[in-house]
Symmetry: C2
Subunit: 321 residues, 2 copies
DNA sequence: GTGTCAATTTGACTTTTGTCGAGAGCCGTG
DNA sequence: CACGGCTCTCGACAAAAGTCAAATTGACAC
């Protein structure tokens, strides 16, 4: 019988195996199929998120360093990926941790804002599947016109797919050529609606970009390296969802920001849980800017970066009083 | 080195294996231990709840029968354990499902009320481990003086142990000989505090007892079969947390209820999620009584019982208009 | 009818995992 | 300091799970 085995069989096999603790051959005889099929169904069950295998990220917050950072920075929670005994490379380790943390923070019924970039896409890519109900994933900023590897819509859709959620894409370019056009587009009902819905999110996933010639926004063509150079001289310190922020974490008053279609920082701050993930050690300054702006509540970083942050906070603390 | 490998190693092994997807031998070489040890740590990780393997109970609510029951009874959610292709026996199947559902409903930070009885204890016994933070499990009624297999405190403690939660026991007998003594005891600060804390629970797990000579409360010696006989004549229809309810689901006006140390039904109804589990088909009448009293919001039953409930609701519906 | 196609299933094989008893280090005790 | 008792660890074997190419099946078009 080559009838589509439907979710029914997958679910049943998963139930017998994982919930009742039967062995695969026992499941096979219960369902009158071969053990090989059972093995296949179980793989599908894991890939679909019908079964969920998660490991506690407790240890990574229990770290003394993490606790001290939480206090020093006034964050809800900090996770630190240890960098001594890493598995593949520090960046991947951080992404794996971030994916677990993210899945731990998602609740059914949630509305989730997702930014973009290499970090976010890496997380999406290694994230395991979940079968959450009534979850919506919304794109936080416009798209890139040119085809590029880690596009905002790709990040959004991939995460939505993994969570078995609805993905809400942004059908607008990230950056326009004139401010007037950007204003006009923002006023469009479809766009306006999406932008105003961002504040209703329960959770947000993002990273922060650098403001040098290697920056993501430069490489993807949203800005030339010359423009970036000028912006940096004007006080640019980081990039959040396509927008330039200064070292205080406020949106920089510049033409680029006025030509961008993206969630404004005010709306982002209205989101209860804002998970920021930083992989590269080179993102120290941008990270500081984002923290200064109170843009994140939950943070995942590597051990090295964590130490730098704490040293910085300690030094600043000592200078202040 | 026979130093206690602490949670540290267990956690690390679990992380590499489950989050990073390494094989056991790879984990072993990473941690410089034998693969056999890795296998052992992983088992411990599962037993501790450091890793969590859960399977969606979606299918059991998606059932048409379940949906119709939700509507007919006005419940938030109904799960039906299919009884045709059962694994061990219907009762165990129901308990396995109930345990999964229960774990799905628990959130960290929750306060959970737990009643007692064979059903509750069975669920506790097969429930997998979880590593939840800040969870408190409170006992909903007093204890039995005589040693008995499914004691209230055992149910509470076992569930607390599985969830890695704090267990709050009731240091009072379930039923006293005089009403006066019961009143006095209820007024005791320790007891009063515990009783008044019940309404603050987020979740409650309970079953309902029968009111015949085979009843749990009779077998454990809280009531003689003669007393039970009289209570039944007086309108007793079921038992909830040691208290007798009538067919409308209200506390029966009787001496026994006045001599019992237990959460009053009003407090129970203040709990947001009230999960009731019924294993035996013989509990049809008690179940109806509990439903009539609006005592549960979430229900787990077997297919046969579900069908009877729906037939009953349908018949009642037809008679009414 | 019957040929084609894609999906599903399976048996046989390989790899991975679970388990057990033996051994080794640690500690308090006599 | 020798002695069990204890826990942790490991090697080797047995059991279970993963994988793949080949076979079967039903649907559909001709």
């Amino acid at each position: 019988m080559a009838i589509r085995p439907a979710e029914q069989l997958i679910h049943k096999a998963a139930w017998l195996y994982y919930a009742h603790g039967l062995r695969q051959d026992q499941v096979a005889s219960q369902l009158n199929i071969s053990r090989a099929s059972v093995a296949m169904y179980l793989r599908k069950a894991r890939e679909t998120g019908i079964v969920n295998i998660s490991t506690s990220t407790q240890l990574f917050t229990d770290d003394v360093l993490a606790r001290r950072l939480e206090d020093a920075l006034g964050l809800d929670s900090v996770w630190i990926a240890p960098e001594n005994a890493y598995v593949v490379d520090p960046a991947t380790d951080i992404a794996v941790l971030a994916a677990s943390v993210f899945l731990e923070l998602v609740k059914k019924g949630d509305r989730i804002g997702v930014a973009w970039g290499r970090t976010v896409y890496t997380i999406a890519d290694i994230m395991s599947y979940a079968d959450l109900q009534d979850v919506t994933v919304v794109q936080l900023c416009g798209n890139l016109g040119a085809p590029y590897s880690y596009r905002p819509d790709q990040c959004t859709m991939e995460i939505a797919r993994r969570l078995n959620a609805k993905g809400l894409n942004f059908y607008a370019p990230l950056v326009l050529t004139t401010e007037e056009l950007a204003r006009g587009l923002r006023a469009e009902p479809v766009i306006r609606e999406q932008l105003s819905g961002i504040g209703d999110c329960d959770l947000m996933l993002f990273s922060v970009g650098t403001v040098d010639a290697d920056s993501h926004v430069v490489k993807c063509g949203a800005l030339t390296s010359g423009e970036m150079e000028m912006l940096r001289k004007a006080g640019a310190a980081g990039v959040i969802a396509g927008q330039i922020i200064d070292s205080a974490g406020a949106a920089l008053d510049c033409s680029h920001n006025r030509r961008v279609i993206s969630a404004d920082l005010q709306s982002l701050r209205a989101i209860e849980k804002r998970l920021m993930v930083v992989q590269e050690d080179s993102k120290f300054e941008p990270l500081l800017a984002a923290l200064a702006g109170g843009l994140c509540t939950h943070l995942v970083v590597g051990a090295q970066m964590a130490q730098r942050l704490l040293d910085h906070a300690g030094a600043a603390g000592k200078n202040a009083p």
